[in-house]
Subunit: 424 residues, 2 copies
């Protein structure tokens, strides 16, 4: 698509959003069987089209250096037979999940005989903006349509060919299976201004979901005129209580920090009760350093750990996404809670403790989407929680918090049945 002028671009975005709105009315009424048939046949056709999809992906991989992608980023962009199989299997997994739409959430009968049912319905139109790997294109389409929504996908330009190849297959099958035209649309212009135009279409888009770095998310929050469901960042803590089991403390801390350093639910900060710091901190930090982790501690921590460097206050605010950890010693559970609520990002925080009262207090007072008791922060994830597919992990408190699967992309309506009741 050639866009000559800014006005044409804006009109393209307005038209795309309107088409999605029209499609969403029909999507809300599509039978579960039709949605599942679309997912299962799309999986089959993706496998069948393997060579075409991999050829399209090859174009993205070849263009990657021109976009300044690192070799690690290019590797995440690359598809092969196994990864494509993973994408296809992902569609089948979503087909196997229960359809949330039409579920009666609760019912009441009023004294006047009115029957009030709260029924789950789709949100409507989702605008999904992402910077991620090609598999996100297929996952997002599957989750949004299975939950009865229309979706406008805006993927990163780095994966443009791969995303287009995948979406073309999903769209062709959608047409065959009788899904509404335009229920799934991929934004076909690379121009950054398009995102801004979409974010002004509050009448036709019900929800914007940005997924990517903090700069993208802040831009979407600033410009959106519709609600935004966002994952801002994860500054996750492991707190080692005075009552902690030493072995669990070390195992969980090392796993939370090292199992995968670049992800949102990785541990970025270790908080240790002063009563056990002299015994526990050195072996834990030695285990971390053995895996290449740099330690940045407060005065007390630095006094206990050879090779630690003094943390600044800013360190406690940091989401490193790197092999670095901040360490803070505290005099009490209360101080730990205050520290985490103040410096953390309300994403995922863990307590290691055998004292049940301490665990309960931590779980109640730490204001985070997920609180882990004697378990790794890395478990805050849709798949690990058994939600099936997820479109992201929300750090918001409104509407949905934590991993967002099918249900989190729905709303509800009240259906009230009577036989002529009027209000006196």
């Amino acid at each position: 698509m050639a866009i000559g002028e800014e006005q044409d671009l804006e009109q393209y975005c307005i038209d795309t959003a309107r088409r999605a709105r029209c499609a969403s009315a029909a999507m809300a009424l599509v039978d579960t069987e039709v949605k599942n048939a679309w997912l299962i046949e799309s999986a089959r056709r993706l496998r069948e089209a393997q060579s075409d999809v991999l050829a399209a992906n090859q174009l993205d991989v070849e263009a990657a250096p021109g976009f300044g992608l690192t070799s690690a980023q290019t590797d995440r962009l690359r598809l092969d037979a196994a990864r494509l199989e993973g994408i296809a299997a992902g569609l089948e997994d979503v087909a196997a999940l229960p359809d949330p739409i039409g579920e009666t959430i609760e019912t009441t009968t009023r004294p006047n005989g009115l029957e009030i049912a709260k029924v789950r319905v789709p949100l409507g139109v989702v605008f999904f903006i992402y910077e991620s790997r090609p598999n996100v294109t297929a996952d997002a389409a599957a989750i949004c349509l299975k939950s009865g929504n229309a979706v406008i996908l805006r993927g990163g330009k780095e994966a443009a060919h791969s995303s287009r190849a995948i979406v073309e297959i999903l769209q062709a099958v959608a047409e065959e299976k009788g899904l509404p035209a335009d229920a799934l649309q991929l934004v076909s212009v690379a121009d950054r201004a398009a995102v801004g135009h979409f974010l002004r279409q509050a009448d036709d888009i019900d929800l914007a979901i940005p997924r990517g770095g903090q700069a993208l998310i802040r831009r979407v929050v600033d410009e959106a005129t519709m609600p935004v469901l966002k994952h801002l960042y994860g500054n996750c803590h492991v707190y080692i209580d005075a009552s902690a089991d030493a072995e669990i403390a070390q195992r969980v801390t090392v796993n939370a920090k090292c199992q995968r350093v670049g992800v949102c639910n990785a541990c970025e900060s270790l908080v240790v009760h002063a009563a056990v710091a002299p015994q526990l901190l050195l072996p834990i930090c030695q285990a971390l350093m053995a895996q290449g982790v740099e330690i940045r501690g407060d005065q007390a921590a630095c006094g206990l750990i050879d090779g630690a460097r003094l943390a600044t206050e800013q360190d406690y605010f940091e989401e490193y996404l790197a092999p670095i950890i901040s360490v803070k010693t505290v005099a009490s559970l209360d101080e730990a809670i205050q520290h985490i609520n103040r410096y953390g990002s309300h994403h995922t925080d863990a307590i290691i403790a055998s004292d049940e009262a301490a665990c309960r207090k931590f779980a109640a007072a730490v204001d985070s989407a997920a609180v882990m008791i004697n378990a790794s922060t890395r478990f805050n994830d849709g798949a690990m929680f058994g939600l099936g597919a997820e479109i992201g992990i929300s750090t918001d408190k409104l509407h949905a918090r934590g991993p967002c699967g099918l249900k989190e992309l729905t709303s509800y309506k009240y259906v009230v049945s009577g036989n002529g009741q009027i209000r006196e």
Copy 2:
């Protein structure tokens, strides 16, 4: 409070929001018994202070002409012994409602032994901006605090003395009963700019709820940097299907339009299937006209009703809040659904029909917070739905839709319990 400069005003708003944020952490942990004791004792003390509250209200009533209030508006502002008793009883009603906080919404045990509980928690800090009667001050404080939130109330200047008198009692009892200081704050400056300053405190305010006219709500939506839960407006329809019972059609239409014309769930538009319009439209419109309702119909309707005037397209978008109704004839159920989704406000729409398939289709396809089947639109209301107290009726689809009571002012967190699990 004397505010000399804009900078002082901004600082006052920032400080108020920060104090609310601090209070919210403690509010989340307050026992149900303490919250209920506060509500019950506040009710008692409001009754005890009747003469003081009524004297404060008298100051507002005397100032009303200076604010340009009509006599109907002044009447709504006026408190008397019966209305004050209603406010006190409202607090007791909230005390009797179950506390949503701490409820385990669902639990799962994962194959690795992790126990995942989804637990209801407060939202945090609510900023409530309203233009309403003095009873809203007490209702909003009760609902927000019972659901574990801190609240900043910004009432209309017309009710400033009444609101202050009520809040001072609630605050005094809060202190006695051990609620966190600043859990309940009333904005003490009349300056309109204060609202703008609060709407920029997204770090310290989790949710803004405007309640009032469309101008107020649009201002809050435009300026807010935090999520907004809003009731925009109600352009509600009654659709009379070809299968409608004539008696029910007339009874419900007259009730929906006339029982109280100035409210959001009153009917503003009548949609009639052409097959029954010749029989039903005239008697229904005569019954409406007998109650002083003006009829604005399309060509077909005007041909059937003496004294009807021709509607413009704009009429179908109107929320009259007045004794006027638009009338549209349609050739099919599908046309009725399209008309309502296009011109309506997604608030409350009713179908009168004996054909169950038509009722099911209407309920599924009309995209409104509440769909009434053979019942008046006037039932879309927290009290009528049995929710107990409500803070408003949401026309949003995210987070909460329809009447918002205690549960709708909550979020949830995941509490995950293990015994040392790590992610492989």
